[in-house]
């Protein structure tokens, strides 16, 4: 999921969701980045309205952590 997380950080920071930026975030986290996965992610997200997807997720009930911390 790290690729998706990276995309979401960029979405929040307002930076462009391109291969370079995703790769940069992942590398900063020490991920051994696969170029093909970055490409695939960017391609898949091209026509997706991230805000909308995020809002829908947010509207869903917060997933219940059962075990106390």
């Amino acid at each position: 999921m790290e690729y998706v997380y990276a995309a979401l950080i960029l979405n929040e920071s307002g930076e462009e969701l391109n291969e370079e930026n995703i790769t940069g975030v992942l590398e900063a986290a020490g991920v051994d980045v696969e170029e093909s996965r970055v490409k695939a992610l960017v391609a898949a997200l091209e026509d997706v309205d991230i805000e909308e997807a995020v809002e829908q997720a947010a509207a869903a009930p917060a997933a219940a952590p059962a075990a106390s911390g």
Binding site: M1, Y3, V4, Y5, A7, L8, A40, L41, A44, L45, E46, D47, V48, I50, E52, A53, V54, Q56, A57, A58, A60, A62, A63, A64, P65, A67, G69
Partner: protein, 296 residues
Amino acid sequence: MSAEERTTDEVPEWKQREVDELVDLLEAHDSVGVVNVTGIPSKQLQDMRRGLHGQAALRMSRNTLLVRALEEVDDGLEDLTQYIEGEVGLVATNDNPFGLFQQLEASKTPAPINAGEVAPNDIVVPEGDTGIDPGPFVGELQTIGANARIQEGSIQVLEDSVVTEEGEVVSDDVANVLSELGIEPKEVGLDLRGVYSEGVLFTPDELEIDVEEYRADIKSAAASARNLSVNAAYPTEQTAPALISKAQGEAKSLGLQAAVESPDLADDLVSKADAQVRALAAQIDDEEALPEELQD
């Protein structure tokens, strides 16, 4: 046609002509089936032939000639000769064998069963009013195992009653009662024994397609692919929103569990704390210990 070369003397000309006709028929169609026509009255057979017109041709002949024709075409059709036994006919169609099977099933009609015949399925006398006046018939029903009684001025069957099980021979008594009640437990029609279609021999059980099952399989396959795509975090156009949602859910779950002080989580953290305090308060059964808003 190679009829000229084939002047075998032992075969009467009319037979050879009939075989040639059959061969023409077989060669002109993609799928050929052998159907059992035992016990079908000729009138009904004609109706069925008419019903199939345009979609499939039904041909009857002497079995020896059918076999000869099938062997003459060769090309795999000779596999069908194993089904040429008893009263049979050939059906030929350009439809696919599954469609042919469906057509033939649909054309079947109910028919009475005679004493001495083997029940093709469980024979049931259904629950309900027989409409028959009280009389000895109630005893006949009881004799064959139907739960019958006189009620409100007529003979009633109190529950669905199996009077002959599948595979059993129908007795005189049962046949009489069924006839009296007008029950027709048989399905009469062209019974496919086997179909040869474009190189493949099909038995009837292979031809019975449950379209619903395929629809369900498609759904299940699509769901599997979706699950795999999301769970393996391999994004596709269709699953990208689900992945975002999943990532969001995970972050939220972690954030709430760790009580991360983030503006995005503040609402939920407050809600969670409130839910917890209420849950704990609910365990307190001393009024005095309860906050005012929770006291009665």
